[in-house]
């Protein structure tokens, strides 16, 4: 077990293999070695840490696309096992049909919480959580992406395109939406 201390001074006893999914904590543990000292996480609050470390049966969020990945330019990280997810890649493939309750809940947390979770995932270096498929809602859009208007609604994004511009972009990128 590892002892974590959050920004609001709450202590958490957490399984080592769970916290080690955070690259930051893993490195810390390796540097410090065996120790009873608590690990301070000054950028993470207790409510967020609960979210980030809670076990879940949710599906993986990373879609390992890229049959072809260049070595030359920006690399897309290979998926590490995220905190929440313990499924094989095969299961990931069929993910759209069973985006879990967990995902639904994840997506329905309020904006502020979502913000903090994303920042925490970034700080703790949990890539996969950061990239969770929070943009998709499997129950309604099994066959494709969530429509832009829904993404806007969900995240309060103002559409700054004219209808013509949007139509033009849709046309240009239509090849990528075809499944």
């Amino acid at each position: 077990m590892v002892l974590l201390v959050t920004s609001d001074n709450e202590q958490f006893q957490t399984e080592k293999d769970i916290v080690e999914r955070s690259v930051l904590i893993k490195n810390m543990l390796e540097d410090v070695g065996e120790s009873d000292q608590p690990i301070p996480l000054p950028n993470v609050s207790s409510s967020v840490l609960k979210k980030v470390t809670q076990p879940s049966t949710g599906p993986t969020e990373i879609d390992v696309r890229g049959r072809y990945l260049s070595t030359a330019s920006t690399t897309v990280e290979s998926p590490s096992r995220p905190p929440i997810l313990e499924q094989s890649q095969d299961e990931t493939r069929k993910r759209t049909t069973d985006i879990s309750e967990w995902d639904q809940k994840f997506i329905t947390v309020d904006q502020e919480m979502l913000f903090e979770i994303i920042l925490a995932a970034n700080y703790l270096d949990i890539k996969s959580l950061l990239c969770r498929r929070w943009l998709q809602d499997g129950s309604q859009h099994d066959q494709g992406a969530r429509p832009p208007e829904e993404i806007r609604k969900l995240f309060n994004i103002v559409n700054d395109f004219t209808p013509e511009e949007e139509a033009q972009i849709k046309k240009e990128n239509e090849w990528a939406e075809d499944r």
Binding site: R67, E77, I118, L130, L135, R152, E174
Partner: protein, 348 residues
């Protein structure tokens, strides 16, 4: 509060990179900022599977040429008879950072082929999959010469194109060549894995080709070949590359016109005769008669392994056997592929 106000670009980009293409496309329509962020990820790997997408995609690039910089992989899998070749070529000319190009069904008229071969330059090209006609053999050679970065070349061509006596094409980085065997004498490479196609070659100078390959390959690399008559080829491989470890012989596309029980028997007989010439052949796969029963395959394999004691696994028309503690046992096809290495390298 608008999410894009509190989420920095860096994090959004990270999320976008891990998002499937369809989601990236949807996100790109959400707002201008998302469009800017998504487009490079979206265009990195372009695959046009339907002719109706081609004009709009190409126009988008032509109107905003800087977008072409994002494209690393460009693959068109549409039948090219009905599409705007001029638009595709104009778009291709802008893709200066392209690494993978697949236009396997593109070629059909000389005018557009000529533009592709003469005017397109991809300084970072690693892999290409092209077809080209007889009349443009020298232009194709020049195109390849202009791209010394190439590691993988897949050429579908008419064998007559290689009659020309032009100089060798030096491709120092080339690791894999799939295509007409007759093209081999023109290639200059150091460490080459080959998948040779001998179809339509009436009277190839097999020894010349094999001598050439033996100077470019090494015994650890599998030798893969498709033909309707492997007799002469196997003799030549055993003479020029006797240390070959893995030999895969496939039927050519035209094989069914030649196939008959007698022909198949002759082939097994001839291969069995050539096998003692190999010093270290470990894996042998023959794949040309899909109708035979397991018993018939085993009877062929039995003769092959007897003629070549170094063999450890043998594959014949969807059945496989391997040697376990000195005894031959049937094994899963997957097991054979694991032992001998993946069956074909035409996937990129």
């Amino acid at each position: 509060m608008d999410i894009s106000h509190w989420l920095p670009n860096e994090l959004l980009l990270h999320i976008i990179q891990h998002t499937p293409k369809a989601d990236q496309a949807a996100l790109s329509r959400v707002a201008k900022r998302f469009h800017e962020l998504c487009l490079p990820a979206l265009n990195r790997e372009v695959e046009l599977k339907d002719s109706r997408f081609i004009a709009s995609f190409c126009s988008g690039i032509i109107d905003n040429p800087s977008r072409a910089d994002a494209v690393r992989s460009f693959n068109i899998t549409v039948d090219f008879s009905e599409i705007r070749r001029d638009l595709i070529l104009e778009t291709l000319k802008l893709m200066s950072r392209l690494e993978y190009l697949s236009l396997s069904r593109f070629m059909s008229d000389d005018h557009h082929n000529r533009i592709l071969l003469e005017e397109c330059n991809f300084p970072q090209l690693i892999s290409c999959n092209l077809s080209f006609p007889t009349s443009l053999s020298d232009l194709t050679a020049l195109f390849l010469t202009r791209h010394p970065t190439l590691k993988r070349v897949h050429l579908r061509s008419d064998p007559r194109m290689v009659a020309s006596q032009s100089p060798r094409i030096s491709l120092p980085n080339l690791e894999f060549y799939a295509g007409q065997a007759l093209f081999i004498p023109r290639i200059d490479a150091v460490r080459l894995k080959v998948e040779l196609d001998w179809s339509h070659t009436d009277d190839p100078d097999v020894n010349k080709i094999m001598t050439r390959i033996s100077s470019m390959t090494n015994p650890k690399l599998p030798f893969v070949s498709s033909s309707d008559n492997h007799h002469q080829i196997v003799i030549s491989v055993s003479t020029h590359m006797p240390h070959t470890r893995t030999l895969r012989l496939r039927r050519s596309r035209m094989y069914f016109f030649f196939s008959s029980v007698n022909h198949d028997e002759d082939m097994i007989y001839h291969i069995t005769e050539c096998l003692p010439g190999f010093t270290n052949l470990v894996y042998l796969a023959i794949d040309w008669v899909p109708h035979q029963s397991k018993a018939e395959n085993w009877s062929a394999v039995e003769r092959l392994v007897e003629a070549c004691p170094t063999l450890e696994a043998c594959y014949s028309n969807r059945y496989a056997w391997r040697k376990v503690n000195g005894r031959w046992e049937e094994c899963e096809l997957e097991e054979f592929e694991v032992l001998a290495g993946p069956p074909n390298s035409t996937d990129y």
